[in-house]
C-alpha cells in the first residue's frame, strides 16, 4: 500500500506569493495514497530536509513528492534526503510549482488549482515508481589516443603521467603532426620543432606509453570502460628491432622523385624514408607504392644490401593487433584545402601561387630552401609577396561558411617572417577582418603592421593571373572607397580553409561518434561539454573537432586527458539507472520481444544487443533484444518504437507516464 508524503515549499515568497501553499498541502493530503502532507518555507534548506527525513521515518512513507522548484534544480538534493531516510531515492519526485506555475501566473484560484494539479500528477507517478539502483560497469584502465600530433601527444603525456597505460596510434611514420611542419609559432615566434620535439621524445621514452606509428585503427567495438580495438600495424618493411637509424638506406635509395608530403609537395623524397630529421621514431619505412622492389617485382634491393644490420625485410606483412582500452581520445587533427577551390586564384596553374603550409616549409630552416623564401618556379627571392586571407573560408556560396580561426594569425606571421628575411621586400595582405582574439595576438598583428611594414588592404581579391612574368593580383581597397587595386606580385600565398581530414568520416564511423556536415567531430554540448562526444568514453582533442590554434589544442587535449583520468579514478563506473530494459520471464515465454530489432535501429548509442535465447539443450529458440545498461543513455526512443511494448524505460516507464496523464486529468474534486 502506497504511503506518499507531500511536501509543499513556500520558497520564501517565490511560490507562496501567488499559490495558496497551505491549501495545496491540505488538499493534497486528501488524495488517495497520501499519508502525510505539509507545507514549509524552505524545503531545500537543512531544516527543510530534516523535516522530510523525519517525516519519512515517522510516518513510514514509501515515497515523496516535493512541490517546489524545477527538478533540474533540486531533484538530486531531495533524492539524497530520501536515501538518508532509508527509502530508495527513485521514489522521490518533484512537482515543479515554481518555474512552471507560481512565477509565470498571477495570484489567483487558477494558479493554486494548477499547482495542485501538478502535485497530483506526480503523486500518481510516485505510486508507480520502482526502486532503481545505480549501474556498475568495470573499467579497463588503459587509454587509446588516436593521432600523434600535439593534441595526441599532450593527452597521452597527461594520462601517462597520471599513472595509466596509454596506447598511441599514428598513421604516418612519425608523430608530430602539422606542428612539426611549422617554422615558427605565433605569437612568440618560437621555433615550432624546438618546442615540439622534446615532447615527442618524452612520448617515445615514457614507460606508460606504447607508441604505434605507421598504424591505423581498424575497428572499435565495446563500450565505455570496455572497448575492444583492432589496430592495423602497416608493413614498414624495416625491422625496427634491428634498425639503428643510421640513414645509409635512404641516402642510397635510387627512387628520389617522390613528392615529399612533409614539405607539402615542394621537394622530393626517397621510397625508403624518414619524414623529417627529428622524426620519432627515427627509423625509416618503405613507401611500397613507390618502391621499385615492390612495383617492379624484386628489381633494386639496394637498401637491403647496404643496411649494416640487415634490418630491411621486404616480406613483412601488415599485422592486426587487438587491444582492450577503457577510453579513447580522438586527436586526428586537420588538413588545409590544397586545391583550386577558387579557380580564379590560379592555384595549381602557377607554381608561385602557394598555400599556407607550403609557405611554412619555405620559411622553415629544415625545408626545401633552407629557410630562405624563394619562388618555387625559378628559385629567385620574391620582391613582392601578396598574402590572401580568407581564401576559402567564411564563404557560404562556396560551401565553407565557417571561419578557419588560425589564418589571420599565421598570415601576419608569414608576412613578418618574409619581411624579417627580406628587409627590402614588399608584403601585402588582402583581408576581410582581423581575428586576433587570443592572448598577445592583437599586439602580434599590430607588430606586423607597425614594425614590419606589412601593407594590410581591406578587400578581397577577384582574380590572379600571370602576365609578363608577374602575378597580377586584382583586388579592391574597401577602406579607400572601393578603389580597385592591382598588385604585381612575385609570389602569392593563399590562406586556404582548414578542413577535416579526408578520412575523418571513416574514423568517426569506426568510433560511432557524430560529425557535422563539414566532417568535424561533434562535441556533446557546444558550451558545456566541448571535449566529450555523445559516445560515452570517447573524447575529442584538437582540430578534429574544429579549427583551433596550438594553445587551445593543448588545453583541450589536457581536458580530454582529465576526463579520461576521472573515468579511471574509480574501481568501477557508476551510472544513473534511467535505462531501458527488455522484459524477460521464465520459460516457455522468455520474453514478449519478437526480435524485430527496430529498437536497435533507432538507438543513437548502439546500446541494444542481440541475445540468443536458448533452451536447456542449447537449441536456439529466438534472438531477442537486450539493452546494454552501460551504454544506454535513457532517451526512451526504443520504448516508443516497440510495437508490442516489450521494452520499457526505468524512471519513465509506460505505467508511470500513463499514471501522470490519468492523474492530471481525472480530478477527484473541482
Amino acid at each position: 500500500m502506497a504511503r506518499i508524503g507531500v511536501f509543499i515549499c513556500h520558497c520564501g515568497e517565490n511560490i507562496s506569493a501567488t499559490v495558496d501553499v497551505e491549501k495545496v498541502a491540505r488538499l493534497a493530503g486528501k488524495l488517495s495514497g497520501v499519508a502525510y502532507s505539509v507545507d514549509y518555507k524552505y524545503m531545500c534548506s537543512d531544516p527543510g530536509q530534516t523535516l522530510i527525513v523525519d517525516a519519512i521515518k515517522e510516518h513510514k512513507l514509501t515515497g515523496i513528492v516535493v512541490g517546489a522548484c524545477s527538478p533540474r534544480m533540486h531533484e538530486g538534493t531531495f533524492r539524497k534526503a530520501a536515501e538518508k531516510a532509508g527509502i530508495n531515492p527513485y521514489f522521490c519526485e518533484m512537482a515543479n510549482i515554481r518555474e512552471h506555475c507560481s512565477w509565470v501566473h498571477p495570484k489567483s484560484d487558477e494558479t493554486t488549482q494548477k499547482a495542485l494539479d501538478i502535485v497530483r500528477t506526480m503523486v500518481e507517478k510516485v505510486k508507480n515508481d520502482t526502486a532503481l539502483y545505480p549501474i556498475k560497469v568495470p573499467i579497463t584502465k588503459t587509454a587509446l589516443v588516436i593521432g600523434g600530433g600535439i593534441a595526441g601527444i599532450q593527452a597521452a603525456l597527461d594520462i601517462a603521467n597520471a599513472g595509466h597505460q596509454v596506447i598511441m596510434v599514428e598513421k604516418t611514420p612519425s608523430i608530430g603532426g602539422h606542428m612539426s611542419q611549422l617554422s615558427e609559432t605565433f605569437p612568440t615566434l618560437d621555433c615550432s620543432q624546438c618546442i615540439l620535439t622534446p615532447r615527442m621524445v618524452e612520448v617515445a621514452q615514457h614507460p606508460n606509453i606504447t607508441l604505434h606509428t605507421f598504424a591505423e585503427v581498424e575497428n572499435v567495438t565495446g563500450f565505455i570502460g570496455n572497448f575492444d580495438v583492432n589496430i592495423r600495424l602497416k608493413a614498414k618493411s624495416v625491422d625496427f628491432s634491428k634498425c639503428t637509424g643510421c640513414g645509409s638506406c635512404w641516402q642510397k635509395c635510387p627512387s628520389k622523385k617522390i613528392p615529399d608530403e612533409f614539405n607539402a609537395g615542394m621537394s622530393f623524397r626517397t621510397a625508403i624514408y624518414t619524414p623529417f630529421p627529428q622524426a620519432v621514431p627515427n627509423k625509416p619505412v618503405i613507401d611500397r607504392a613507390n618502391c621499385t622492389w615492390f612495383t617492379k617485382c624484386g628489381k633494386c634491393g639496394i637498401c637491403a644490401k647496404i643496411c649494416p644490420t640487415g634490418a630491411i625485410d621486404y616480406t613483412i606483412q601488415d599485422e592486426i593487433i587487438n587491444v582492450k582500452v577503457g577510453a579513447i581520445v580522438t586527436a586526428t587533427g586537420f588538413d588545409i584545402k590544397h586545391s583550386d577551390f577558387f579557380p580564379e586564384y590560379g592555384y595549381g596553374k602557377h607554381p608561385d601561387i602557394i598555400d599556407g603550409l607550403q609557405f611554412e616549409r619555405l620559411a622553415s630552416a629544415s625545408g626545401p630552401t633552407g629557410g630562405e623564401i624563394r619562388r618555387p618556379s625559378d628559385g629567385k627571392v620574391p620582391e613582392t609577396v601578396v598574402f590572401l586571407a580568407c581564401a576559402g573560408s567564411r564563404d557560404k556560396a562556396k560551401g565553407i561558411e565557417y571561419c578557419s580561426k588560425i589564418c589571420c594569425m599565421y598570415t601576419a606571421k608569414h608576412a613578418m617572417l618574409y619581411k624579417h628575411k627580406n628587409h627590402h621586400g614588399k608584403a601585402h595582405v588582402f583581408y576581410m577582418d582581423i581575428r586576433s582574439a587570443g592572448k598577445s595576438y592583437e599586439e602580434f598583428v599590430r607588430r606586423a603592421i607597425e614594425e614590419d611594414d606589412v601593407n594590410y588592404i581591406r578587400g578581397r581579391v577577384s582574380k590572379i593571373y600571370e602576365k609578363n612574368g608577374k602575378l597580377m593580383v586584382v583586388g579592391v581597397d574597401t577602406l579607400l572607397n572601393a578603389k580597385p587595386v592591382t598588385i604585381e606580385a612575385d609570389m602569392v600565398v593563399l590562406a586556404t580553409a582548414v578542413v577535416a581530414n579526408e578520412d575523418a568520416e571513416s574514423v568517426a564511423q569506426k568510433l560511432h561518434i557524430s560529425y557535422d556536415k563539414h566532417k568535424f567531430f561533434a562535441e556533446a554540448h557546444p558550451k558545456l561539454k566541448p571535449v566529450e562526444t555523445n559516445t560515452a568514453g570517447i573524447t575529442l582533442a584538437g582540430a578534429c573537432q574544429s579549427a583551433k590554434d596550438i594553445p587551445e589544442t593543448v588545453a583541450q587535449a589536457s581536458a580530454a586527458a582529465a576526463k579520461t583520468i576521472i573515468l579511471f579514478s574509480g574501481s568501477e563506473l557508476t551510472r544513473e539507472p534511467v535505462v531501458a530494459t527488455v522484459n524477460r520471464s521464465a520459460a516457455p515465454v522468455f520474453t514478449t520481444c519478437t526480435g524485430c530489432f527496430l529498437c536497435q535501429e533507432v538507438c543513437p548509442y548502439q546500446a541494444i544487443e542481440r541475445e540468443e535465447i536458448r533452451d536447456r539443450a542449447g537449441n536456439l529458440l529466438m534472438n531477442a533484444a537486450k539493452v546494454n545498461a552501460g551504454l544506454c543513455q535513457g532517451c526512451g526512443t526504443c520504448v516508443a518504437m516497440c510495437r508490442n511494448k516489450s521494452i520499457d524505460l526505468q524512471g519513465f516507464s509506460n505505467q508511470q507516464m500513463l499514471s501522470e496523464v490519468m492523474g492530471l486529468l481525472n480530478k477527484p474534486f473541482e
Binding site: R98, E99, H100, S108, C635, G636, T637, V639, A640
Partner: protein, 157 residues
C-alpha cells in the same frame, strides 16, 4: 452566468530543451496563460502517441508536443523519430476525422523561454476558439469499468 470555457492543455515535452525553456520562462517571470500542464519526458522520442489519445479521452481539449530543434537533440536523433512519428500519426488522425488542429507540434529550445510562453498563449487561444473537445465525452465509459480479465483469458486458452 455562463462561465467562459477555459481549455485544458496538456504539454508533452522533453527534459533537455522545452522543459528547460519553460524553466527559463519561469526564471524570467514571463507571464502566460494558466491552462497548460506539463508532462516531462527524457526525450520527445520517448513519447508514445497513444498517450495523446488517452489525454483527449480523459478531458484534455488541446495538446502541445515540443522538444529540441532538429539536429539539437540531446540524444542525437530522438526528435527526428518523434517528428516522423508525428507525421504518420497526424495523417492517420486526419484520415479518421480527428481534429488535429487541437494538437500543436513544436520545437522550443532551452534558450527560448519567450517562445514557450508565446506557444502556450497561442495554443490556448486557438483551442479556446475551437471549444471543448466533446467527441468522446458523450460516450458512456462506466460500462467498461468491470472488465472480466480472467474470463477473457479463460476463453482464449
Amino acid at each position: 452566468m455562463a462561465e467562459t470555457f477555459e481549455p485544458k492543455i496538456v504539454a508533452f515535452v522533453c527534459n533537455w530543451c522545452t522543459y528547460a525553456g519553460a524553466d527559463l520562462a519561469g526564471t524570467s517571470r514571463t507571464k502566460y496563460a494558466t491552462n497548460v500542464r506539463i508532462i516531462r519526458f527524457p526525450c520527445t522520442g520517448r513519447i508514445d502517441f497513444m498517450l495523446l489519445i488517452k489525454a483527449f479521452q480523459n478531458g484534455a481539449d488541446g495538446i502541445i508536443v515540443s522538444g529540441c530543434h532538429p539536429n539539437d537533440c540531446h540524444y542525437t536523433s530522438g526528435n527526428f523519430h518523434a517528428r516522423r512519428r508525428w507525421m504518420v500519426f497526424k495523417s492517420m488522425l486526419d484520415f479518421i476525422g480527428f481534429p488535429t488542429e487541437r494538437i500543436t507540434f513544436s520545437w522550443v529550445s532551452a534558450a527560448e523561454g519567450k517562445k514557450w510562453a508565446e506557444l502556450v498563449n497561442e495554443t490556448t487561444d486557438s483551442v479556446r476558439a475551437l471549444g471543448p473537445f466533446t467527441e468522446y465525452k458523450n460516450l458512456d465509459f462506466s460500462q467498461f469499468n468491470q472488465i472480466d480479465h480472467e474470463g477473457i483469458a479463460e476463453q482464449s486458452r
